[in-house]
Amino acid sequence: MEETNESPFMKYLRKDRLPNIFCAGCGNGTVLNAFFKGMEMAQMDLNNINMASGIGCSSRIPGYVKCDSLHTTHGRPISFATGIKLGNPNMDVVVFTGDGDAAAIGGNHLIHGARRNIDLTVICINNSIYGMTGGQISPTSPQGSYGSTAPYGAFERPFDLAELVSAAGATYVARWTTAQPLQLANAIKNALNNKGFSFVEAVSQCHTYYGRKNKMKSPLEMLRWMKDNSINKRKADKMNPEELVGKLIVGEFVNKNQAEYSQELYNLIEEKSGNRSKSIKSAYMGD
């Protein structure tokens, strides 16, 4: 039984590691709550979940969760997760990553994971900046936004991650913000249920770096900004690009069924080597 004075999510957390290391009001903790809520709605067992993350504030999340996890090298969690899934396709594999981790150094792993449609649930916390290392511009920083590496404002064009991963072939893609935690939890539920590459972009507040550099120094200012500028994809699809400047398009981008990579690979092994593949596997099982 859970203790009555505790958050409903405390039973999933490594209590001895709390309070978490995140700045007061950082969106990472809210995304974690939304994950637990989504996991409950999907009726998924935490004991069967294996997490992987890269490097960044967002990538520290799995370390707080009572499940097996790999805290890997910067940009590589999808590669490690691919290994977990192919080693044991019965695991539910979840990746926590940041915009820098997933889209800059790890950009190739992201698109190829999507292209293969391997059954992973990737939760990318997009705070539009490198939080952990001091506010450098990331591939998702909006044009004109300020960062420690863009004192005159970023002039590069950013990636739209949900669109990028959709185009690369993911079979479930959604984007919500930390100001819409219920919708975010629901998207995570759908992502966990999807048998294939699922990508949930959680737009989140790093008020410490992104906020302070962009005239929104408190988490509340950043949450209001996200709430006020979100437009549902269904509505946005009927608007023209000028009307959408500075807006955050939220909602479901892709939800479809397609052949999944680990399943296909195991089918191939079965087909080509039949019993032999079982004997190879048993060598590693001990008997």
């Binding site: 009555t4 958050s7 957390l13 978490n20 009001g25 809210t30 935690p181 509340l220 949450l223």
Partner: protein
């Protein structure tokens, strides 16, 4: 009943901002960590929507159902 763990709360005020029923109030005093811990003052107005607990980045809130007391 709202249970707010002062050891976990970092005083970000997200619960206060997002509660649709304005249950939380800003405290006037700082706690030993130097933060203002919100006070769940208007508990009679709480609709038990659980939004505060879902948003709290530090898992500091429990919204108790009436029959749990």
């Amino acid at each position: 009943m709202i249970k707010l763990d002062p050891n976990l709360c970092k005083g970000c005020n997200i619960c206060m901002e997002f509660c649709p029923k304005k249950v939380y109030e800003q405290s006037k005093t700082l706690d030993k960590k130097g933060v203002h811990i919100p006070i769940p003052k208007n508990q009679d107005k709480c609709s038990k929507c659980n939004l505060c607990a879902l948003m709290c980045p530090d898992q500091a809130i429990k919204v108790e159902e009436d029959d749990e007391q």
